[in-house]
């Protein structure tokens, strides 16, 4: 789950990582009031779930509250990479004498968390990694032992020569590691980690991605979820226990299992169609899930045909067939539907479909080619 900077910095602060003063504003008026409250120059920062906000003009320095008002007015409503800005973070502007980078992710190959630091912060770290990988220093932490002070110091001295700065940075690295593990994050990042002219080390930005699988342990984090309008279907699916990702094609796909769902999308493309979505109804065979799946897909006006590809294991084909019949009678879809059922209770499932006069197919290839033909798009 992605969260906003203003939420991430609160998590950082709860682990003792220094962040500049600041609050969230939903309007230009609120931004002006917050700037006046801070009483010093501020930054107004767009809060959206994408990187590159600065380049897009979503981050502005404001010397006065009126300037904060004007900038906030421009930024709120701005479209950054397809996402509309609905709120801005107003923080105290910090004087910068140096910018560094600190981030932690899971190294899937090494099966360990890896801490990355670079003396060059405030820029696109992926670009640094691609062009000058020697400027990024990495350290793998044994997840059983946890991070040791010497490891944090070692990293800090790679990017700072001043002992006092290094000491502060090492402390921040220790705290950031604790935050990563205890908050069940899949990524934590401070970019930039700045040194002020007076010698303080501060997290000027905050990025945290949370592991969806860890959310059950952090009921507080659920309220951090901010669903963009285009993600509403994904959210509805998630709440119903489905996985859904909307795409721009015209063949709606309902499949059980993530791998089979991806393979089905690929097969649609292979035979000249375009998948409208990824949708995994999961392992259970609750007919209501099928109804929700159909409701979500039918909402997409691009969809010209819907295919079901079900390989019954735990999922029972007759349950899915019942769900399809229920959904069809409820929504009376105008687009054609074709269903492939194989595996557990396949014969029962097919009989149910035949009775309701719903088209079926024998194989995965057949269901895909039939759906494309019925959609008349290839």
């Amino acid at each position: 789950m992605k969260i906003h900077e203003y939420q991430a910095r609160e998590i950082f602060a709860s682990f003792g990582i220094p962040v500049p003063k600041g609050k969230i504003a939903f309007s230009a008026d609120e931004a002006r009031n917050l700037a006046a409250e801070i009483g010093r120059p501020v930054m107004v920062k767009a809060q959206v779930h994408v990187g590159g906000r600065g380049k897009a003009g979503g981050i502005k320095y404001c010397a006065t509250p009126d300037e904060a008002y004007r900038n906030a007015e421009n930024i709120i409503g701005m479209n950054i990479k397809g996402l509309i800005v609905r709120k801005v973070l107003v923080t105290e502007a910090t004087e910068i004498s140096h910018e560094a980078y600190v981030g932690i992710i899971v190294d899937r190959s090494a099966k360990k968390p890896v801490i990355m630091v670079s003396a060059e912060g405030g820029i696109d770290i992926e670009e640094v990694a691609a062009k000058t990988p020697e400027k990024i220093h990495k350290l793998h932490v044994d997840p059983i032992l946890g991070i040791k002070s010497y490891q944090a110091r070692q990293l800090a001295y790679r990017i700072y020569s001043d002992p006092e700065t290094a000491k502060q940075a090492a402390g921040i690295i220790m705290k950031l590691y604790r935050c990563f593990m205890e908050a069940d994050a899949s990524l934590v990042e401070i970019n930039p980690l700045v040194t002020t002219p007076s010698g303080n080390v501060v997290a000027l930005d905050a990025k945290v991605n949370l592991d969806d699988n860890g959310l059950y342990r952090h009921p507080d984090f659920e309220k951090l979820r901010d669903v963009a309008p285009q993600e509403e279907s994904e959210n509805e699916a998630r709440e119903a226990g489905l996985s859904f990702v909307g795409l721009s094609g015209n063949i709606g796909c309902v499949v059980n299992g993530a791998g089979l769902a991806m393979a089905t999308m690929d097969l649609v493309k292979h035979y000249g169609g375009e998948p409208a979505n990824f949708l995994d109804i999961g392992g259970s065979s609750n007919p209501d899930k099928v109804v929700t799946a159909m409701r979500i897909i039918l909402r997409d006006p691009n969809v010209k045909a819907i295919l079901f590809n079900i390989f019954g294991g735990i999922t029972r084909c007759d349950d899915v067939a019942h769900g399809i019949v229920k959904a069809v009678s409820e929504f009376r879809p105008s687009v054609p539907i074709v269903v492939r059922l194989t595996g557990t209770n396949e014969a029962e499932g097919r009989a149910i479909l035949a009775k309701a006069q719903i088209q079926s197919a024998e194989t995965m290839v057949e269901v895909v080619t039939k759906a494309i033909a019925l959609a008349g798009v290839a």
């Binding site: 059983i144 996985s243 690929d266």
Partner: protein
């Protein structure tokens, strides 16, 4: 033979009184698996269709000599269940549960590595050695005993491909779903190594998907170590970037982990990648036909290097040559249980 599970497998089901646990305990038993125990804390002393239930895995191991565990508990209890099994002396743990936090798995993985315990999963369908035993949730009837090893990050996609293999009368030695999470106990390389060393396995199918670099690492390993024919499939060509595609591990992040990269990595080491799931069986059929042809041609040439199966099959013909030439090479070509025997024999003969 087969890998990870065989006729010596004695299963304890953790979470046997749950909805999934009880259903699949029955299914496994029906398939022929020796389900010797179940564990549900607080239900010790009861039973499920003749399977005794214990309060702890330690007790189950002590009383029933269970050596393999299949875990069907909710995600929030799964990590504890894995540690319990590992500490009780279980050698192979299959964790079906979906939704285990990745940072917990980092600790589990590194702990089990120290202990030398094999974990398959989490978020996986398990492992089956067709005709012998299954430890998992896959529908047994779609499988057929044979010589193709199948390893996959997916569940139902594996069923689809296995179904196609069986329809072509191509049987399987062992099929493993390693799981769709970013951190899993057993990866492609572990399975490829076992399949390469397994005398029953003649060809291998690797089913990958977007996210991470397991497939790329598998390709490098195949080049270095695997002499048996391998066929690949990669799901997710049409997946968009930065979106989790159902599986927690199936995400293209920072522009890496894409399907074309993985297909390229496989093809670069001579592993053909099927364009559709159905095509996997066609490619395997071709590979096997070529293999049998080569074998038939080589039967007369007694070449000591190639894989186990060949030396076993061609044994009668090359027996004399091998005995004279290189007993050491012959033992390397044979497999674990047999290795010791033949080594001993070789030594005693020397004496």
């Amino acid at each position: 033979m087969g890998i990870f599970v065989d006729k010596k497998t004695r299963v304890v089901v953790q979470g046997i009184t749950g909805r999934d646990g009880s259903f699949h305990a029955r299914q496994m038993k029906e398939y022929g698996t020796a389900v010797v125990a179940g564990v549900t804390p607080g239900k010790g002393g009861t039973g499920l269709e003749g399977i005794p239930i214990f309060n702890s895995v330690a007790e189950a191991v002590e009383k029933t000599r269970a050596n393999t565990s299949v875990i069907y508990v909710p995600a929030s209890a799964a990590v504890d269940a894995i540690y319990e099994a590992a500490d009780a002396g279980i050698q192979v743990i299959v964790c079906i549960s979906e939704g285990v936090p990745a940072n917990d798995m980092l600790k589990v993985y590194n702990y089990l590595k120290i202990k030398g315990v094999r974990l398959i999963g989490p978020n996986c369908p398990g492992v089956i050695t067709p005709g012998v035993t299954k430890a998992g949730i896959m529908p047994g009837q779609i499988h057929k005993k044979g010589s193709v090893g199948v390893v996959s990050r997916s569940g139902t996609l594996t069923y689809e491909i296995v179904y196609n293999l069986t329809a072509k009368k191509i049987g399987q030695s062992t099929c493993i779903g390693i799981g769709g999470d970013p951190i899993i106990g057993t990866n492609f390389i572990d399975c490829l190594k076992e399949f390469q060393d397994d005398p029953q396995t003649e060809a291998i199918v690797v089913i990958g998907e977007i996210g991470g670099s397991d497939e790329e690492e598998a390709a490098a390993f195949i080049k270095k170590y695997v002499t048996k024919p391998v066929v690949g499939f990669i799901a997710g060509l049409t997946a968009p970037a930065d979106k989790r595609m159902g599986h927690a591990g199936a995400i293209i992040s920072g522009g890496t982990g894409t399907a074309p990269e993985k297909i390229k990595a496989f093809e670069a080491v001579g592993v053909p990648v099927a364009q559709t799931p159905a095509q996997v069986a066609d490619l395997v059929e071709k590979k096997l036909a070529a293999l049998y042809k080569k074998k038939a041609a080589k039967k007369v040439i007694a070449k000591p290097k190639p894989a186990a199966k060949k030396s076993v099959k061609a044994k009668s013909i090359i027996k004399k040559a091998v005995r004279k030439a290189a007993p050491a090479k012959k033992t390397r070509a044979a497999k674990p249980a047999k290795v010791k025997n033949s080594k001993l024999k070789a030594r005693s003969k020397k004496k």
